[in-house]
């Protein structure tokens, strides 16, 4: 075969045939690599099965009880919660013999009870006691703090309070989360939700402190459901009011309890000092989570209109922001 001109240094003996064969091999290699890359390329990034239909969590509302709210003041946490529950007709109005109760606490931080950044352990113990006295077969306490759940439950005192009062602790683990799409939500779509905590549960009670929140303005009953969400949930902070509304649409509790014995009025939601707390001596219990948050907003010196998630939840039909329209049972404990 005729040589392709002068040989180049370092390429002795290459002729047209060699060149074409090498060119074909190189082309085939590039083609195969590109094909494999194209085959493996996922333009949408990691996600769960996109076609999964919306799921529905159980509805824990007790039929016939209706929308009620009780606001107890004074007397300390135990007397206040006892008074508020009594005003709503007693725990027996909500918990029946054999019920399996799930108590969703706020245990987001590994901070001591004194800072009121987490649900009060004495409140957890008292509500557990009330549930058992009403005939509950079991009480489980849970939250998904993301950051080291063992430390959060231990240092907040909630773990010990639950155990000593006979409640079971459900710590988050991967097997308890499922990809979930909440009906009507544009945000909770194919997202890991702590659905395993609901297995066998017949009643749901949310218990949390009233707190200032740097992003949403307040952390109360509806925001408390954030702890049922897994994954990199902080991305929802960009749209937090809508997200809280979506949570409230997704979760239908038996009862919510807002602890305003001390209200974290500054530097929330973590606080860090007793100076962030204000003694407000108020306990709110309600079957309407929107009304409860609206009443709780007052403890922060705000109204429902100052907190967009409350108004969004009302518009979505979750409850009423005009808690006074429910004619609250007001209990003053000396």
């Amino acid at each position: 075969m005729k040589k392709m001109g002068k040989e180049r240094p370092g390429q002795p003996g290459m002729d047209r045939r060699d060149f074409l064969i090498r060119l074909a091999k190189a082309g085939a290699t590039v083609g195969v690599a590109a094909g494999v890359g194209y085959f493996l390329h996922d333009p949408f990034g990691p996600r769960a099965s996109a076609e999964k239909p919306p799921g529905v969590l159980p509805d824990f509302i007790v039929p016939g009880v209706g929308k009620k709210i009780a606001i107890a003041t004074g007397g300390g946490r135990i007397k206040a919660i006892d008074g508020a529950i009594e005003a709503l007709g007693g725990m027996g109005s909500f918990i029946k013999k054999g019920d399996r109760v799930l108590m969703k606490v706020n245990c987001a931080f590994a901070s001591p009870p004194s800072l009121c950044a987490t649900t009060s352990p004495e409140l957890v113990a008292e509500v557990t006691r009330l549930c058992f006295r009403a005939g509950a077969a079991s009480v489980a306490v849970t939250d998904n703090p993301i950051n080291d759940p063992e430390s959060c439950f231990s240092l907040s005192g909630i773990g010990e309070a639950a155990r000593s009062s006979g409640a079971e602790l459900i710590l988050p683990r991967e097997s308890l989360f499922t990809e979930f799409t909440a009906p009507g939500s544009s945000l909770i779509r194919d997202w890991p939700v702590f659905t395993g905590a609901f297995t066998g549960v017949t009643k749901l009670i949310g218990i949390c402190p009233v707190k200032d929140h740097h992003r949403s303005g307040a952390s109360m009953a509806m925001k408390n459901w954030y702890g049922f969400i897994g994954g990199r949930r902080n991305i929802f902070h960009q749209n937090i009011h809508t997200f809280i509304k979506d949570l409230a649409l997704m979760i239908k509790p038996t009862l919510v309890i807002l602890d305003g014995t001390f209200t974290m009025v500054s530097n929330g939601p973590t606080g860090g000092s007793l100076s962030d707390l204000k003694k407000t001596e108020t306990m709110i219990a309600s079957t309407d989570q929107v009304a409860a948050d609206s009443a709780g907003a007052r403890l922060l010196g705000k109204t429902a209109k100052d907190l967009p998630f409350i108004m969004q939840a009302e518009r979505a039909g979750v409850g009423t922001a005009d808690f006074e329209s429910l004619k609250p049972y007001r209990v003053s404990i000396g």
Binding site: A108, P112, N147, S151, N234, T270, L274
Partner: protein, 324 residues
């Protein structure tokens, strides 16, 4: 066809091996995304910032050290992360220490590494507790800004912001020792000289704050110091921001004035003694907006016009002592 030589074969094998290693790394990273909290183990030298050597004798490390980066900060402090992320947050290190005699008495040390001292001072100042007391850590060579509450100590030193919180009463002595030890060797903050531009009369020094982003709700307005004065019973928030040039200060004053007019404000005159200073009435409050040299300054949301003008004029004159 010529067969490949030994050297070519070796290079080829090396390149293929390298590609295989890279592919394996990409696959592993994809299968193991970063965890929520990058908790480092409690290694032998796992105590941060040389605390071990400076720890009060009756305290011992409790639990493991944890670190959080911008991607995981909200795992630790939830919604408050935004405050730090918008202010130049780099890393948070957290460690707890318990009384050797009582494990339920423990303190938590949080060290926020910020990009610069201005960022550290900003997060320090914006979270200042109302009933706090100033704390003098400066004698140890650092700690430009520090205060204590009944159960916690907060301070900024150089580009770091520190929080020492406690689980029980009776730990303040240990917390102070730890704070003093921590500020030793920290660089002194260099970005706080702006304080000297706030006239001292009627000034509540504890209210000096640095706002880093979207100040007064105006998008893009950054790095503004504020301080509260009490003038004849009226609270006045004065503000000062040092810009890169007199032109930038003038442009920002004009832009802020335009922003006020677009958001319900009306022009309400000028200040004769402070050339270029403009007054706006925004609903029921007054704003004074001015520039002097490279400074953008004024008074913000003041109930009484006279108080707004008085404080703004004193700020203007103080700045003028430097800018001649």
């Amino acid at each position: 066809m010529r067969r490949a030589g030994v050297l070519e074969t070796c290079i080829g094998v090396f390149l293929l091996t390298l590609l295989a290693v890279i592919a394996g790394g990409v696959y592993w990273y994809g299968a193991n995304p970063p965890k929520s909290a990058s908790g480092r183990g409690p290694g032998v030298s796992g105590v941060p910032l040389g605390v071990a050597a400076n720890l009060p004798a009756d305290l011992a490390p409790f639990g493991r050290e944890e670190t959080f980066d911008p991607g995981t900060l909200s795992d630790k402090i939830d919604g408050k992360a935004d405050l730090y992320l918008s202010t130049g947050f780099v890393e948070l290190t957290v460690r707890r220490f318990a009384k050797k005699t009582d494990a339920k008495s423990w303190i938590e040390l949080s060290v926020y590494q910020m990009r610069d001292s201005a960022g550290a001072f900003s997060v320090y100042s914006l979270q200042k507790r109302k009933d706090s007391k100033p704390l003098n850590l400066a004698s140890s060579g650092g700690g430009d800004s520090a205060y204590r509450t009944a159960d916690a100590i907060f301070f900024a030193a150089g580009p770091k912001y520190f929080e020492i919180t406690s689980s029980a009463p009776g730990l303040m002595g240990d917390m102070k020792i730890l704070a003093i030890n921590l500020v030793k060797g920290q660089p002194r903050s260099g970005g706080l000289t702006i304080e000297s531009f706030f006239p001292h009369k009627f000034l509540d020094r504890s209210t000096i704050s640095l706002h880093m982003k979207d100040v007064f709700s105006m998008s893009g307005l950054d790095r503004v110091y504020t301080a509260v004065y009490t003038d004849r019973g009226c609270q006045v928030t004065a503000f000062i921001s040092r810009r890169k040039s007199p032109k930038e200060a003038e442009d920002i004053a004009a832009a802020y004035g335009k922003f006020l007019l677009e958001n319900g404000g009306v022009a309400a005159g000028e200040m004769i003694d402070a050339p270029g200073a403009k007054i706006y009435k925004v609903f029921d409050t007054y704003e004074v907006v001015m520039h002097r040299g490279a400074f953008f300054a004024g008074a913000h949301e003041v109930d009484k016009l006279e108080s707004a003008k008085d404080v703004a004029l004193r700020v203007y004159r103080k700045i003028s002592e430097v800018v001649r």
